[in-house]
């Protein structure tokens, strides 16, 4: 059987940053990239099934939509034991939103026919929480979002999942497979890549495709296949804490005073 794990390279901002000339995104020179935190957990969950009872025949395929620089994140996944890595890109995807990205992943999933798809609940940068479930919709597969525990025996036709709800409670759901699940932080403890794994991953091939080769037509690419369009990006006016300045001793003294005032008032 096969598990498809879509991953994303996410961006954080440099301390000082500037917007692109069109004002619709941050100038790429001010972005720092990393593998989305959630994707460490999705890959781990796939690896656990592969390494667990009955998992011998499982193939774990990591996939992403992005330019060449994203190979770095795919290699991190290969270093942790993924069997295969696929990257899809076309310049027209530059303006794709979560739905636009899901269209490309859906085309790839149709080629791969996985038995399970594990996506992160959301990505750390824009936190749309939409790509995985949009993929489920496009493939018309059973789906469950925000899964905090998974009980699945490789090869079976259903899985039992525990969805994490608000306020610390959970819902247990039995779901037919193949299925798309978005997995929540904390579902497992992700492994670190071994030095040997990292060295080997550097040599391993990454399959690179353009979206058109997967049959994604121009009207589904990038902005045309997206459900929204960015008009502008700006720094919000924020409320700001009153900063307590001084040496650590002075700062702590003021904090102690706040705590004591509270204690006196309570």
């Amino acid at each position: 059987m096969k598990i498809l794990v879509p991953i994303k390279q996410v961006a954080t901002l440099d301390e000082d940053f500037e917007f692109r000339d069109d004002g619709r995104d941050v100038d790429p020179d001010f972005l720092i990239h990393d593998l989305n935190e959630w994707d460490n957990y999705t890959l781990e969950e796939a690896m656990r099934l592969k390494e667990g009872p009955g998992g011998e025949g499982i193939e774990v395929v990591v996939a992403t939509v992005g330019p060449e620089s994203v190979d770095e994140e795919l290699r991190k996944c290969l270093a942790k034991g993924a069997d295969r890595a696929v990257r899809v890109w076309s310049d027209a995807l530059e303006d794709a939103d979560a739905v636009g990205v899901a269209r490309v992943l859906a085309a790839l999933a149709r080629r791969e026919s996985p038995d399970l798809i594990f996506a992160g609940v959301q990505a750390a940068d824009h936190a749309c929480g939409a790509t995985g479930m949009a993929l489920a919709g496009l493939l018309d597969l059973p789906h469950a979002a925000v899964v905090a525990a998974l009980d699945y025996v490789p090869g079976s036709h259903s899985a039992t999942v525990r969805r994490e709800l608000e306020g610390g409670s959970y819902a247990s759901v039995r779901i037919g497979c193949p299925a798309v699940l978005t997995l929540q932080l904390g579902i497992n403890t992700p492994r670190y890549a071994s030095l040997r794994g990292i060295k080997q991953a550097a040599q391993r091939p990454i399959e690179v495709l353009d979206a058109e080769a997967l049959g994604v037509t121009a009207d589904a690419l990038g902005a045309a296949g997206s459900a929204s369009r960015v008009r502008r990006m700006y720094v919000p006016e924020k409320g700001r804490a009153q900063m307590i300045e001084g040496t650590p001793a002075e700062q702590a003294a003021r904090l102690a005073q706040i705590i004591k005032e509270f204690g006196g008032a309570a």
């Binding site: 269209r103 929204s228 990006m233």
Partner: protein
């Protein structure tokens, strides 16, 4: 296409409070645009929730009878599609909640609707609906629009709009339930395990630790610090996920709300939306963080840019 459709949420037989916030958002837009507001409720016995949804500003309540009361993504997806076809709204508001995460995206991709999630601002101008959400760890705001889409679905960040509490007498209509063959089955709800006997919702003074703690061995000194200043020790998600403190101490959307808290000292917590959902109502928040740009400083009353170990050590000298 016109009108605003709100899809309410309920769980375990109770209407979720965010439903009244969505009505608040819709009614504000009604005042700005003149669009009628309809509120839908989907459930095994949807009439159970109708009385609570008879809110001022609502023009019509729509009920859809489902085969089960618990959330099922495919029942919700089909029902909301049927509601959209029946009333042809231009804007559909869902909560940005765990349940909506499970069906909003499939709904929009199958029907070609416009879509944005976790929005906290909505307007309409000459080109149509415009939504505002945040990006890059809440450091920027992003304004999005939906060219060419006659129906726009938005999931709205809880806490962004004031709930409507005033009651009124809107019309109530039943919308026929679409035939759905659910491919998943709700087995039951589980309440969280207790962990230790900590009571975050009842605590008036919480010292809370986050990723800045660095490693498990460092947790103990903050436990001691909390004890010495007379606070309950709380934490953010990464600390509970790592198993360094029990889940019962986690403050936030998927943890506990610091409901009775008056003083919250956040140490090494940068302030995710999910964490802030559990404590932003607290009167006095003091944030200690090495990153002067951390989001938590936008809601804290007092901020200290500094090392939590150093500040902790100095603080101990005062108690």
């Amino acid at each position: 296409m016109s009108g605003i459709l709100v899809v309410s949420e309920h769980r375990n037989g109770e209407l979720r409070p965010v439903s009244r916030e969505l009505v608040g958002a819709a009614v504000a837009l009604k005042h700005a645009t003149g669009e009628p507001v309809r509120v839908a409720v989907i459930g095994e016995a949807p009439e159970r929730y109708v009385a609570e949804l008879k809110l001022a500003g609502v023009d019509e309540i729509l009920t859809v009878q489902a085969v089960v009361d618990a959330f099922d993504p495919e029942i919700y997806e089909a029902s909301v599609r049927a509601l959209i076809e029946a009333r042809e709204p231009s804007l559909v508001l869902l909560a940005h909640s765990v349940d909506s995460l499970g069906y909003a995206a499939p709904l929009v991709v199958k029907n070609g609707y416009g879509f944005a999630s976790d929005v906290f601002g909505i307007e309409r101008d000459a080109d149509g609906w415009v939504a505002t959400r945040s990006g890059y760890g809440q450091k920027v705001n992003i304004e999005v629009d939906f060219p060419g889409r006659s129906v726009v679905v938005l999931t709205v960040r809880p806490g962004s709009y004031k709930p409507v509490e005033t009651l009124a007498e809107p019309a109530v209509s039943a919308i026929p339930a679409p035939a759905v063959m659910p491919r998943s089955q709700h087995l039951g709800f589980e309440e969280p395990a207790g962990g230790d006997d900590v009571n975050i919702p009842g605590a008036e003074f919480i010292v809370s630790i986050g990723r800045g703690v660095g490693e498990e061995d460092n947790v103990e000194q903050f436990k001691e610090l909390a004890d010495s200043v007379g606070a309950t020790l709380g934490c953010s998600r990464p600390i509970a996920d790592a198993g360094w403190l029990p889940k019962a101490r986690q403050v936030g959307q998927s943890g506990k709300t610091a409901a009775a808290c008056k003083l919250y000292v956040a140490m090494g917590i940068s302030g995710s939306v999910q964490h802030m959902a559990g404590m932003k109502h607290v009167e006095t928040i003091v944030a200690v963080n090495t990153d002067p740009e951390a989001s938590i400083f936008t809601i804290a009353r007092y901020g200290i840019v500094g090392d939590i170990f150093e500040i902790g050590q100095e603080l101990r000298n005062h108690f």
